[in-house]
């Protein structure tokens, strides 16, 4: 069995490589430690040589990669980034479907309930409300994740991507406020754009909920 010092050395290496997400960290750490232990027993190697061999095996998975989805300066190990990209692609597809569903509902449901007319005539107020609510909630959750210091791939996606929603909304608010009359944007585009932000906002909560579910499940079993 490895000593606590050996375990610490491997853990430091894993963290230094950027495997900080809980959903990967413990699994990767356990995998590496078990591999090292087996090499030490089966091949009669000392810790340093076994560790070196295992590090070489993980080289490709630990290679730092970035995606334009998350920003060039926010690189993560390949193994983590692959999962984040899959999550983001699925989330964006769901966002588009939700936008379309909401749009059809609001646009064609206007005959029965004049929501569309209400939104369009009060577009500045609607943007302002969404902007304030999203800014406050995002700031709260962002700080909450930071303080708890437990990151998952879900919280990474939430922080890196969805945090932009209040800023997008604020920009839209400025554009609507300053150029509405001169731009002469058709009603359906304004409505679609607004619903798109609402859909992103909704999907961000789905991502956050997955993060919280994972952490609560992890805490329940480990601590």
């Amino acid at each position: 069995m490895l000593s606590n010092k050996d375990v610490e050395a491997v853990e430091c290496f894993v963290l230094a490589k950027g495997i900080t997400c809980v959903d990967f960290k413990y699994e990767v750490l356990d995998h590496m430690l078990t591999d090292i232990e087996e090499r030490m027993v089966m091949d009669d190697l000392n810790f340093d040589i076994a560790f070196h061999e295992v590090k070489k095996k993980w080289e490709t998975s630990f290679r730092s990669t970035f995606s334009f989805w998350f920003g060039v300066s926010y690189a993560r190990p390949k193994i983590v980034m692959q999962k984040c990209l899959k999550l983001m692609n699925a989330s964006m597809l769901n966002t588009l479907l939700l936008t379309l569903t909401l749009f059809i509902g609001v646009y064609f449901g206007n005959h029965f309930l004049p929501i569309k007319s209400l939104i369009i005539s009060n577009i500045i107020k609607v943007y302002s409300v969404i902007c304030v609510i999203s800014a406050v909630t995002f700031l709260y959750h962002f700080l909450d994740i930071r303080v708890k210091k437990l990151e998952t791939t879900y919280s990474y996606c939430y922080k890196r991507h969805f945090i932009c929603v209040p800023f997008y909304n604020f920009t839209m608010l400025l554009i609507e406020n300053a150029y509405k009359s001169s731009l002469n944007v058709p009603e359906w585009i304004t409505l679609m754009w607004l619903l798109f932000f609402i859909a992103i906002y909704g999907m961000s909560f789905a991502m956050l909920s997955k993060h919280k579910t994972y952490l609560s499940y992890y805490h329940l079993q480990v601590t």
């Binding site: 069995m1 375990v7 990967f24 413990y26 998975s61 390949k78």
Partner: protein, 118 residues
């Protein structure tokens, strides 16, 4: 033969990774990542080697789809994550194995002149 996520010379096995994981878990109560790679290596006598970069994204995908459930266990001085098939996972394993067997049968009929599909 050296195999990489999952096989270097060809990627014939690539689409079967999920089926391999599900099949292994159907014959074991619960397994962890390293155990899965070693088991595959042992069964195939080193012919097939699942890389870590391919294994964990697949396990996480199957978990997200509700086919696997996880259990965290403290082992020695670390946390180990075990995977177990869910009820839905057991059904999906049978479905995937059946599809794979049909595929093998069809391919055998194509490549082997003596073999005919019944």
């Amino acid at each position: 033969m050296y195999v990489c996520s999952i096989m270097r010379p060809t990627n014939l096995y690539k689409g079967s990774l999920n089926t391999i994981i599900l099949k292994l878990l159907s014959t074991h109560d619960k397994m962890y990542g390293y155990e899965i790679t070693q088991k595959v290596k042992a069964i195939t006598k080193g012919e097939l080697h699942i890389t870590e970069g391919a294994l964990y994204p697949s396990l996480h995908k199957l978990e997200a789809e509700g086919l696997l459930e996880v259990e965290f266990v403290k082992v020695n001085n670390r946390t180990r994550k075990y995977y177990r098939l869910t009820e839905q996972g057991t059904k999906e394993t049978m479905r995937k194995l059946e599809a794979l067997e049909n595929y093998i049968k069809t391919m055998r009929a194509l490549v082997s002149p003596k073999f005919r599909l019944e």
